[in-house]
């Protein structure tokens, strides 16, 4: 029984396995191949994060310092002038990056925790558990989310925790749908069955068997979801039920100074002022989408 043919040994089946590259080497190779748009996106995001983190040092004035004259013009100690009660707009833009992005990030994380968790549970358990959760999600999705958010915010009040909570729950429905769909493809694999036969619990199957295999679409979705949450918060703030003064926020800054736009014919710079926070929102959204596009193309092999 030991006389296996000399041409065959199990070890030699894959002859030349190269030493595995480290994570950094692989990341670097991918980065080098990244298109220009992705680089643009990554640089913009990095700048935003930098500004958000070091807002306290970068801003020339405090967030809620209203000790200046109202509607001061550009220049002269105030790069973008001051707003209707005399706060430095440039400083508020910088603090706004921290507040709006921080809240959006927290909300997106929470949405993924809720939506992803329930989705994996539904995908693994199937049967009635899946039915109950999925139908509940259907009901939530059937109500227009902005109107629903307005209603809930007027019930619970516009504090930052309730803002995060409400938007997270409403957005988690989309995360749920996506996660459940991709997880369904993995759940039927035999390695999941093998884990079940081994007697593994729900937590292990969720975290160790399924999650690592569905990461790419989830990471891409995280980027997009972040953009949407960000826009929702800005929209709510613009409507006056989002982030409340004196906390600086891009959405409410657009609203507060919106009337300035009609003075564009007299002073172009004053007319542009309310558009600045809007442009900041737009730029970040575009940047995130560039990066997500590249990531999606890389992981799913989708061209165009």
């Amino acid at each position: 029984m030991t006389d296996t043919p000399e041409t065959y040994t199990a070890k030699d089946e894959v002859g030349q396995v190269r030493a595995r590259r480290t994570r950094w080497e692989r990341t670097w190779i991918e980065l080098k191949k990244a298109p220009l748009t992705a680089w643009f996106g990554m640089i913009v995001i990095a700048c935003y994060v930098f500004v958000a983190v070091f807002a306290g040092w970068l801003a020339p004035y405090a967030e809620a310092d209203s000790s200046f004259g109202a509607y001061l013009p550009w220049g002269d100690g105030h790069v973008f002038g001051t707003d209707q009660i005399g706060r430095d707009i440039f400083s508020r833009m910088i603090f706004g990056a921290r507040n709006t992005m921080g809240i959006a990030f927290a909300t997106t994380c929470l949405a993924f925790l809720i939506g992803g968790g329930f989705a994996l549970m539904a995908a693994i358990s199937r049967g009635w558990v899946d039915q109950v959760i999925s139908r509940f999600v259907d009901v939530l999705m059937a109500i227009p989310s902005l109107i629903f958010a307005l209603m809930l915010l007027s019930i619970f009040g516009s504090s930052i925790p309730s803002l995060i909570m409400i938007i997270a729950v409403l957005d988690s429905t989309r995360v749920f749908r996506l996660t459940r769909a991709v997880a369904m493809n993995v759940v039927v694999m035999e390695y999941v069955e093998a884990a079940r036969l081994r007697g593994e619990g729900l937590g292990w199957i969720m975290r160790r068997e399924i999650l690592p295999n569905i990461m790419p679409p989830l990471v891409a979705e995280f980027g997009l979801r972040f953009s949407f949450v960000f826009l929702t918060i800005a929209a709510l703030s613009f409507l006056g039920v989002g982030i409340q003064p004196p906390t600086a926020d891009w959405g409410s800054m657009v609203r507060d100074n919106a009337s300035l736009i009609q003075f564009a014919q007299y002073d172009l710079k004053a007319g542009i002022t309310p558009l600045l926070p809007a442009a900041a929102i737009a730029l970040l959204t575009v940047a995130v989408n560039f990066v997500v596009d590249w990531f999606l193309m890389k992981t799913s092999g989708l061209k165009e």
Partner: protein
């Protein structure tokens, strides 16, 4: 160049792109094919068979480039021809039959529309002519109800019928050359015979030349006039079929021939580790198993054979508790096992392990070998840290691999290595029974042999019991002690190997045994004649 030479490939070099470099896949192969001749290409996976077959059509899959050489097809060099010229040949004068007919057909169109598509787009025939011709081709391919079967959709016919419809599709424009790429690999043995016979007949009737790619020697012996053996992108040997079978020259070819050299004397015992007692099971309301009773002797190998749909794998699901039976029970060491997975204790789960057919899907692509084998060690035996590593090393040695595999992912292993890791994962639990579900059928002959030897050695050393589910009679011959023949959810017979393999057989067993190709040039004709005589054939056909 003589006139009846249809295809002449000279010194073909083909590169494939991976890891940002071009690697040679085909390293300078010559190939000639006369009109009406069938050439068999054999070799293990990765030998470059399919790549060479596609190159004969002047085609390279994405990530493949035809680097150098000449491909003369009927006086035209496909290497220098424009893409439009090649396009005009494909479908009309060269056709391709893929391995998976189910994946190659568009599910949204009727069979007949797809069958005549190539003829129409090349303007060979009018639609009405082509449709009439398609019906006669269906008849030639021995498809049931040739007048109407073309109006069905792909999901409404069986796998074997679909594969034959695909051959009809290739034949539609009466090409001079057809490339068959493992067309029967995905089929049951009993179905394979019919498809092979139909293909052979069609090729003979229309005097079509063919390149037949397979890794199954017995099949190629039926189809090919000449055989070419490939390995690592190089030609090993080429000869007439008869010559090649009787007198292989190269040592590698000899090992291919000598594969089924495992012999094992059947032993049995009355000490049953597992007893399946009168089990009836169903998926929803669809009954699958009817009063199945199987007794598994301790420390022996019991083979469960039958074609797909016979209930083999369902039996495994009942044993593991994935599918609780409607009636009956499973006794383990004399004690009844709880019917559902949830009711079983960790200890009971540990005692019965399972190895799957497709090691690819049975291994989590994001786990390293260390994690995969280490987890059951940790989970069942409660070992921690260094003790786990030590045990994993021992297990790797047991399956003839070493510690250099610890940090590899599934994608960095070959098919045989993957299956070995799966075996190690099952062994890690220190089970009494291992259910092997078609564990070798996705592997090459040589690798299969290695795995079977390993399993036998492990049984001798560790005394583990195997329930070996397979449709491959050769494997059964090699390793089993007892055999259970299943058909349509029932046990046809159970007994010691030597008794089952000796006549007289029950009808179904005979059909199954007679469907296994042998390495004998005239086998196909004999088998087809014998099957026609067999009344049972009508019922077991694939419809």
């Amino acid at each position: 160049m003589s006139d009846d030479l249809l295809l002449h490939m000279k010194n073909i070099v083909i590169d494939g792109f991976s890891d940002e470099r071009w690697h040679p896949i085909i390293k300078g192969i010559d190939l000639t094919l006369k009109r009406g001749e069938v050439l068999g290409l054999i070799g293990e996976s990765g030998a470059g068979k399919s790549t060479l077959g596609l190159a004969a059509m002047g085609f390279g899959r994405p990530g493949i480039r035809l680097t150098s050489g000449e491909i003369w097809f009927d006086g035209k060099d496909l290497m220098t021809a424009t893409e439009a010229e090649r396009q005009s040949l494909r479908g009309s004068r060269i056709a391709y039959v893929a391995q998976s007919a189910a994946a190659a057909f568009n599910p949204a169109h009727r069979l007949i529309d797809q069958t005549i598509e190539a003829s129409l787009s090349h303007g060979v025939k009018s639609a009405a002519e082509a449709a009439e011709d398609a019906k006669s081709l269906y008849a030639a391919m021995d498809l049931p109800d040739p007048e109407n079967i073309g109006f069905r959709y792909p999901h409404q016919v069986s796998g074997g019928q679909l594969q034959r419809a695909m051959t009809a599709m290739a034949m539609s424009a009466r090409p001079d050359l057809i490339v068959f790429d493992e067309p029967t690999t995905a089929l049951d043995v009993t179905t394979q015979v019919n498809v092979l016979a139909a293909m052979r007949e069609a090729v003979d009737r229309f005097n079509t030349a063919a390149i037949y790619i397979t890794h199954d020697l017995a099949v190629v012996a039926q189809m090919a006039d000449r055989i070419k053996v490939l390995r690592y992108g190089e030609e090993v040997e080429e000869a007439e079929t008869q010559e090649m079978l009787s007198n292989p020259k190269h040592p590698y070819t000899k090992t291919l021939w000598a594969v089924r050299s495992i012999v094992k004397a059947a032993e049995t015992s009355d000490d049953y580790v597992l007893q399946i007692d009168n089990v009836t099971a169903a998926y929803g309301t669809v009954p699958v198993l009817h009063n199945v009773s199987i007794s598994v002797p301790r420390g022996k190998t019991i083979a469960v054979v039958g074609e797909s749909g016979s209930g083999k794998s369902t039996t495994a699901r009942v044993i593991t508790g994935l599918l609780p039976p409607k009636e009956g029970q499973v006794l383990f060491n004399g004690e009844p096992l709880p019917p559902a997975l949830k009711g079983r204790s960790k200890d009971q789960l540990q005692r019965i392990q399972m190895i799957y057919q497709m090691a690819d899907t049975a291994m989590n692509p994001r786990h390293t070998v260390r994690e995969m084998i280490g987890r059951p060690v940790e989970f069942y035996l409660g070992l921690k840290g260094r003790a786990v590593d030590k045990r994993v090393s021992e297990l790797l040695n047991l399956i003839e691999l070493d510690d250099s595999f610890l940090d590899r992912l599934a994608g960095e292993l070959s098919g045989g290595q993957k299956q070995r890791i799966c075996i190690a994962r099952a062994l890690a639990a220190e089970p009494e029974v291992i259910i092997c579900d078609e564990v070798t059928s996705a592997l090459d002959q040589v690798v299969q042999e290695g795995i079977l030897r390993l399993l036998m050695r492990l049984q001798k050393d560790l005394g583990v019991t195997y329930i070996f589910i397979t449709h491959d009679i050769a494997t059964v011959q090699a390793i089993s002690d007892e055999i259970v023949v299943m058909w349509m959810g029932k046990v046809v017979e159970q007994g010691i190997k030597d008794e089952i393999m000796q006549p007289p057989y029950p009808e179904y067993t005979e059909l199954l045994l007679s469907s296994v190709p042998t390495m004998d040039v005239g086998w196909l004709k004999g088998a087809v004649a014998a099957r026609k005589a067999m009344t049972i054939a009508a019922q077991t056909g694939e419809a």
